[in-house]
């Protein structure tokens, strides 16, 4: 019975396009064609229009051809001539696209008309009822997009409408959270929205908990599709306007689908038809006609009458998505979606660390005989033994043993504690080592969460994710001050030794580097090679991580590379690496250098934490981190830079790198090293403060930290040049950077 769906979708699309034309005309009359329009902080203009049609819209008037295109895309209404209708699938998909394109213009106009309608940033302001977040800016898109790349978020559910009641909404949301999916919410059912239902049920919404309230109208669906298309351009290197590739990329790599909750009206049908162009099927709770044959989507296109308790499982099955659910023996929900959830001061039951009490965590290797796998011991008071609002000291000591376990893996396992604990609903974790900070919320305690469960989490997840490198694991949790203080000094000693060992590793002293093709799920031609002194540009993987990853999964994305003959020690070029890259890049890259951004720098994908660029006038370089949304002296914002150099290309003059890499000894050493750094955003400078000072001292440049300009000194080369001269920045007197 898909004729009925097609009929409704076409009608809906006519409504949407006609209303959009009215809105557009009104806006043109009121603001004129030169009125700037766009979504906040993005280099992708109106991203659907940009990606599908290749049109950059910066001013209202530029949307005119798009509106015309929408009208042209509308097919004839389905009507029978002599009781015969013409084929309608093609027209239905076209009208869906017309609706989506028109809605994106409408939403852009809303940003002009009602600039406060959507709240900027990741979080909602529930108290003041400002929950709608609108378009994700590029910072959010890149940060969150990486989770889609590395698989920590396998896809998203676009929820349209509202559940029958807040409790059902909450259950569905938590179920998706447990499956690690993002939920993008829009539209309402008779004035009730899924987002508001979640708020009512006491669920934290916003980007950090993966429950994203885009907007109250169906047109906010464009924010979900726009997010997906930006991922295709940013991580997949798909060229704007190459709609075929954009949509194919979405079908094959972005595992999203639509859940329509409540009566499906014509406009929803048009949007659902639009989403099918992306390969995103619709799964509904009502008995709308089903469309089961496959082809545009991977499997079914419309599935209906799905009961609420089956909707999440059915949806991921229809989309063809494999989700591995983490079952952890604890009384609260568990998964990455809960990582960003906050425990506010008023909700805290018990708190440890955070400067108020001593608190640390330590993973160390132990003898097989001394470890009883799965044993969790709490030494000192348990949560239930203390009243609400208590502060306790805390030591989490994990002992692991196994034939393959090495000391090198200790920090890798220890670094996991932060997010693994955070994944528990109602538990917050900040920091690491001896600056760790735990908050356990009242709700979690009500459900029975205790310190013991921290141990259970670590035991279960370590086995799940790192089972290949150890055999046994036990956890001791201390909550008595005397014990904690005594063990703290042991821990601090261990940290120091560990740091010294890692600091001591050099590229020269290492024959084996590791490849990283983790991103190839999203950026099919990019290939990273990671050496001890050049961590991965995403910041997530250093050399040791890769080594462990290879141990865990010998056929996985991290493969050892024998670096082979050194072809250029200064620029960092090795024969074995080049051979590997040539093969892994499918013959597109024959050679790249590790230590230079001028000469054949390493390729960059869309995931990099920072981008460095040459500033020729200053004879130096700048670097900018993903979170910094402002202008830089290169004349480009981060997101524009990423758009220019991402996609697995060698781009002389630019290179992507991690934050940590800035203070590694080999950072652009072939071009003169860190001494070339003349500009950096203030936020990043402060984040790296201690390490920059240390490197400055090592390089023998007194007060180097203070010589580096930030946006406070200026965002053009002219502006900062004076400052550099005054500060006596070494770059100004070095050899010409362009050789």
């Amino acid at each position: 019975m898909s004729r009925l769906v097609a009929f409704a979708a076409i009608q809906g699309a006519y409504n949407i396009v006609s209303k959009a034309e009215g809105k557009f005309k009104q806006a043109m009359d009121k603001y004129g064609p030169n009125q700037p329009i766009g979504f906040p902080n993005t280099a992708f203009y109106l991203p659907i229009i940009y990606s599908i049609l290749g049109i950059k819209i910066e001013k209202l008037g530029e949307a005119e051809p798009v509106m015309k295109r929408c009208r042209d895309l509308l097919p004839k209404h389905i009507k029978a001539e002599h009781n015969i209708h013409l084929p309608y699938l093609g027209g239905t998909l076209d009208c869906g696209m017309a609706a989506i394109l028109a809605e994106e213009v409408v939403e852009a106009i809303r940003y002009v008309e009602d600039p406060d309608f959507y709240r900027l940033g990741e979080e909602c302001d529930v108290e003041n009822k400002r929950i709608w977040l609108g378009a994700a800016d590029d910072t959010i898109m890149r940060k969150r997009g990486i989770e889609f790349v590395d698989g920590s978020a396998p896809g998203f559910a676009a929820i349209v409408g509202a559940a029958p009641d807040p409790e059902t909404a909450k259950k569905i949301a938590e179920d998706y959270q447990k499956k690690n999916l993002y939920i993008f919410m829009c539209a309402n059912q008779n004035g009730t929205s899924f987002s508001e239902q979640l708020v009512e049920a006491g669920v934290q919404i916003g980007w950090p908990t993966r429950l994203v309230p885009f907007g109250p109208d169906i047109s906010a669906a464009v924010f979900a599709l726009g997010f997906a298309n930006r991922a295709a351009m940013a991580f997949g290197g798909v060229k704007p306007g190459d709609y075929k590739t954009v949509l194919k990329y979405n079908k094959e790599r972005i595992f999203a689908f639509v859940n329509a909750f409540g009566e499906v009206n014509a406009e929803w049908a048009a949007n659902a038809a639009g989403a099918i162009n992306w390969g995103f099927p619709t799964i509904a709770d009502t008995d709308i006609p089903e469309i089961l044959p496959t082809g545009i989507c991977t499997y079914e296109h419309v599935v209906s009458s799905v009961p609420y308790d089956q909707v999440t499982a059915k949806s991921i099955e229809v989309r063809g998505l494999k989700v591995t659910i983490t079952e952890i023996p604890i009384p609260v929900s568990y998964g990455p979606a809960f990582e960003g959830e906050r425990v506010r001061r008023d909700d805290v039951y018990v708190e440890c660390g955070g400067g108020k009490t001593p608190c640390f965590e330590l993973v160390r290797i132990a003898d097989m005989d001394t470890v009883e796998d799965g044993r969790v011991e709490v030494i000192g008071p348990e949560v239930k033994d203390v009243p609400v609002g208590t502060r306790l000291p805390l030591a989490v000591v994990v002992e692991v043993a196994g034939r393959k376990m090495q000391e090198d893996y200790e920090p890798i396992l220890e670094r996991q504690v932060h997010h693994l604990v955070n994944y528990a609903q109602g538990v917050m974790h900040i920091g690491q080592r001896d600056i760790a900070w735990y908050r356990i919320g009242k709700q979690a305690v009500d459900k029975g969460f205790a310190f013991e469960h921290i141990g259970k989490i670590l035991h279960a997840k370590y086995h799940q994710d790192f089972g290949a490198i150890f055999d046994k694991c036990q956890v001791k949790i201390y909550t008595e001050e005397a014990n904690v203080r005594e063990l703290l000094s042991v821990a601090q000693h261990a940290y120091r030794i560990r740091d010294e060992r890692i600091e001591g590793m050099t590229d020269e002293g290492t024959e084996t580097y590791y490849s990283c093709t983790l991103c190839q799920s999203f950026a099919p031609t990019h290939v990273c090679v990671i050496s001890p002194e050049r961590t991965g540009l995403c910041g997530a993987y250093n050399w040791l991580d890769c080594k462990a990853s290879f141990e865990i999964n010998p056929t996985g994305p991290n493969q050892p590379i024998q670096k082979g003959d050194t072809l250029d020690p200064k620029l960092g070029n090795w024969k074995g690496v080049n051979d590997f890259v040539f093969k892994a890049s499918r013959q597109s890259i024959s050679s790249y250098n590790f230590y230079s951004l001028i000469y054949d720098p390493m390729t960059t994908c869309g995931c990099c934490e920072c981008i460095a660029a040459v500033l020729p006038m200053c004879n130096g370089i700048m670097t900018v981190n993903r979170e910094y949304a402002g202008m830089t002296p290169s004349g480009m914002k981060f997101t524009t830079l990423a758009g220019t150099i991402g996609g697995g290309n060698v781009t002389p003059g630019f290179v992507g790198h991690s934050k940590y890499n800035v203070t590694q000894r080999k950072f652009v050493l072939g071009d003169g090293g860190l001494a070339r750094l003349v500009w950096i955003p203030k936020m990043l400078k402060e984040e790296l403060r201690d390490r920059i000072i240390k490197r400055g001292d090592e390089m023998g440049i007194a007060n180097f930290y203070d010589m580096i300009a930030t946006e406070e000194q200026g965002t053009t080369e002219d502006e900062i040049y004076a400052f550099l001269e005054q500060a006596g920045h070494p770059a100004l007197t070095m050899d010409s950077i362009l050789g």
Partner: protein
Amino acid sequence: MRCTMSHDEKKENPVSIAEEKKAKKADLREMTSCPSTLQMLKKLEADGHDSVFTRAAEMKPCPIGAESACCKHCFMGPCRLNAKDPYARTGVCGATIDTIAARNFARNVAAGGAAHTDHGMVMLDVFRDVVNGKVAHFKVQDEDKLRNVAMSIGIPTENRSVKDIANDLYSELERTYTQVEGEIPFAKRVPPKTLELWRKHGIVPRGAMREIMELMHRTHMGVDQDYNNIVRQCSRTALADGWGGSMVATEISDILFGTPEPRVAGVNMGFLREDQVNILIHGHEPLLFEGMIAASNDPANIELAKAAGAKGINLLGMCCSGAEVLGRHGIPHAGNFVSAEPIIATGAVDAIGVDVQCIMQALPKMADCYGTKFFTTNPRAKIEGATHFEFHEREPLEAPNKIIAMAVERFRNRTAKIVIPQRQDWGVHGFSHEYVNYMLGGKFRGSYTPLNDNIINGRIRGVAGVVGCTNPRVKQDWVHVELVKELIKHNVLVVQTGCSQIALAKAGLMKPDAAVLAGEGLQEVCETVGIPPVLSLGSCVDNSRILIACAEMVRIGGLGDKISDLPVAGAAPEFMSEKAICIGQYFVASGVYTIFGVTFPTVEGTKFHELLFNGLEEQGFGKWGFATDPIEMAGMMIDHIDKKRAALGLTEKRERKLFSMEDRRAAAE
């Protein structure tokens, strides 16, 4: 009074009269399943006229010729062999049954291929003259198609004018005919593995003229006397038709007159209008019809008609001329090949204009009996006794204007009693390759992927091309209709061209509602896309659209890497022309199992027969099949489709694959 000359001749011969009387008793209802044709056959009988049907009943096919056991290639003969004992003797020169039948077959291929390639070449002539401005009336109507065709054979299109591209396209396509060495341009569209097989066997066509010439040479007395070798050149010549002449005809017609898109259009004699000047266009090329459409819309001509008391000018198509404009412009189609005489009996046809191919010589006589004006228009196809108004593409309205004037004249002086069968059968027509792409994904996701997907998942079992003529030696339309019904019932999607598609359109199978006759899976797909289970593609040169579709199915993937891997089959259940033989051979050579009905020009059990029906498949090509019963024929096609499905591993129900991140990473490779 009898109008036929044969009558007068046969009067002298008492044996003929006896046979004739016997034939008269034959049940007209056994001759056709088309109600309009039947009604007119009865009228013809009442009016005392014979027709292709009665003549067929009167004249048994020559028994030696029917089995291709006679040879007239030199004048030491003609020689005839005994089909019952084919190897008992040879011709005077020593030619075996295999040589004789293969040479006869080759002559059929040469003639059929010549017809299509000449048609294509005429289209190309017009295209050239349109591009260089010598023909002003026609122009390039579908620029997208022009670019796509150009791109498909490696002509650069970016930032180039239509004229530049068209010039290059012309010179490239001219090679289809005139090239003496190398491969014809559309060989670039052949799936690489299929092309590899052709190269291995040395059958990639060089140029149609060369291939036809060589085939004619080889079949001369005393040249090629190895049936294997003759068949090889048959394939090469036939491929020069399918991937050459016919394909050029289709592509250029689309470029000049528009690529068909589905439209609701009608077929059957009920579209004759008593109160209008009815003009029937019969034959094959679109040019005359395009001229007629323009001329019949000319206000001066409409005025002329009105002045004669008509409400207007009513154009109708017949045969493949009609099929060209049915999908392209929605002009009603009056009937297929064997209905050409019966329709004249309505008395309502004021004029018939014809161009080339399948114009029976009996037509002008029959026209004469009912006062219908009959005009030949093509210098290649004059008929003794018929008026000739030559059609010139540079003045494409000249002949049509004359035809209209004469038709109006006849309207004014109609004397014949007018009886119009009332049936009008509406359906959806005009599924071009381009539209199939569009209908399966719209402007943004258009591709054959959903077709392949639903073949892979088994909703669609396979695809069948049911095409070809109608033949008075079988009940008109019946084999076509029963075959197609049986196929769709078993979830085989059917694509159609030529007279076969008119048979199914009359039976109502080109309505989307006909999906209720299809199996559950096919029905579901039809409902999703909004299509009938039987797709109408165009005229007989448009069989090239089926080749393109096969190539695209291979390219999209999942169904093997050669056309011969595809779960598809073809049939021409009521064929009669040499063109059909050539079409069959190019499908077989391309890799398709192709079944003919009515008769087949071989002796079963001979080596030549064995080669066509089995040997070619063993060499990696398709093969020929033969059956007269539609259900049996459908069974053979379905069995073949199932065989191909099994070879592709598509028989078992597949587990739904769920994609992990590793799968996505692997997808990059």
